[in-house]
Subunit: 259 residues, 2 copies
Amino acid sequence: MRALLVPSREGLSSAQPPEVSSGAVRGADEALFRPIRGGNAFEETVERLLSTLRLGVVAPGGRLPPGRELAARLGVSRATLREALATLQTAGYLESRRGRYGGTFVVATPSPGSGLAPGGRSAAEIDDVLAFRQVLEAGAAEAAAARSLTRADREHLTARLAECTGTGQADYRRLDSRLHLAIAEVAGSPSLTTAVVDVRSRVNELLDAIPLLAPNIEHSDRQHAAIVTAILAGDPPGARRTMAEHLAGTAALLRGFLT
Amino acid sequence: MRALLVPSREGLSSAQPPEVSSGAVRGADEALFRPIRGGNAFEETVERLLSTLRLGVVAPGGRLPPGRELAARLGVSRATLREALATLQTAGYLESRRGRYGGTFVVATPSPGSGLAPGGRSAAEIDDVLAFRQVLEAGAAEAAAARSLTRADREHLTARLAECTGTGQADYRRLDSRLHLAIAEVAGSPSLTTAVVDVRSRVNELLDAIPLLAPNIEHSDRQHAAIVTAILAGDPPGARRTMAEHLAGTAALLRGFLT
DNA sequence: CTCCAAAGGTCCACGTCGAGCCCAATGCCC
DNA sequence: GGGCATTGGGCTCGACGTGGACCTTTGGAG
């Protein structure tokens, strides 16, 4: 196909003598030469906001940061942000109110079968996401257990666990995501948190395409409790193991339901 | 400071009744509301190309993909790419030759004390990078060992290991990076490879600021061999453990040398 | 020796996006 | 009840970046 990174031929006219120069490095160049931009600013902004809703970071009824501040944090202009917000308003997810103490509020979270987030998952992409998630989330659980957590960390974890346990199907995905994010947060590495947020968002897109069964929720609840217990107990291998089991369950479910 | 994600007040005039709406989610919103763009296209392109050089994906004497193709893969216009290439030319890293079988060639790799990549690492950022790297690379080693590797995978690994073993200081960083990237590649998840590329690039920036000692190289060589052996033997826990030990060594070195 | 393919070098018209500004609405505080 | 702070809504201007067409250089193929 391509013929990149070829060894420089013998007998170059001038300049430094070429030396060794290796063969291709297979996957790494595809990662390095991947697109700089994910798309135009508008699309990226919509995607980011959708992730925020899907992950339940802002719950229904909650308010997004004011337009000016949000635009600044996202590094886009207010015009672009407002375009994105308008799109999500017409889609029925958001609602804006003017005046002091106004703002943009979450009306509903994008649930199964939303018009956005079109399909097109290849088997390879599913394997990719699941493998990546395995590495990130199991690592996060282990790292969280290895840290000496603050009181706030512990309360944050137990609060998210309690919130998630014994909830109806309606809110389960959102609260489940929040618990997983909380684990990443208390691991203490912002980069890790960011990565988990991203991969979790991709996983949620997949999950939204399959049904949610009561037995699975119960099972997940028990696993969640075991994970949090191991983290609070400062047991890194245990946290990793229980998290790995938990993830394996979801992975099997996804692989079963998706082609 | 900020007052985001506040619970919606009681008694909203209209629309859906507000319901629960949680407290803030601490770190996750900072990840979700992080900047969409890392900077302008030119800067991002320069950064990406610098990473390519630092990681040794294109060795000195090697050729970059043709401008048109590289621009397409990076998702930037030729004008922007050429600006970036020109910058790296004047910095002495690249050299362009016209005509058929011409192209842009690597002259030197940015080594310690390069004018680019200014300092400014806070202790928190160092901890962040190292923790993230621990998760990613240990996870990659484990995942690689868990997979049934193809013949090509095995050869790729052993080749990178051999290349790296017993090299002088001049090329060590580059070849070391290539070995680590190879491990990520054979783990079989493109997303994981991308993440490792990114974090490895950040680590290399740090490493370029500290000296490279012969005893450390020897030690690393032995650890590298143990890691590859564990992966080829299909021993996930062993691969994880040896990789973790290897990373801990580098981490201690970095923490020692950097403030 | 000629032609041609493949690469870098240059230019310009157009679209996208960001910065700044002002307007409109809304509800608390005095 | 008036002022005012805060929020969304809308506008214009300028810079950056893209896409495309075109030229120039170079070395191999015929």
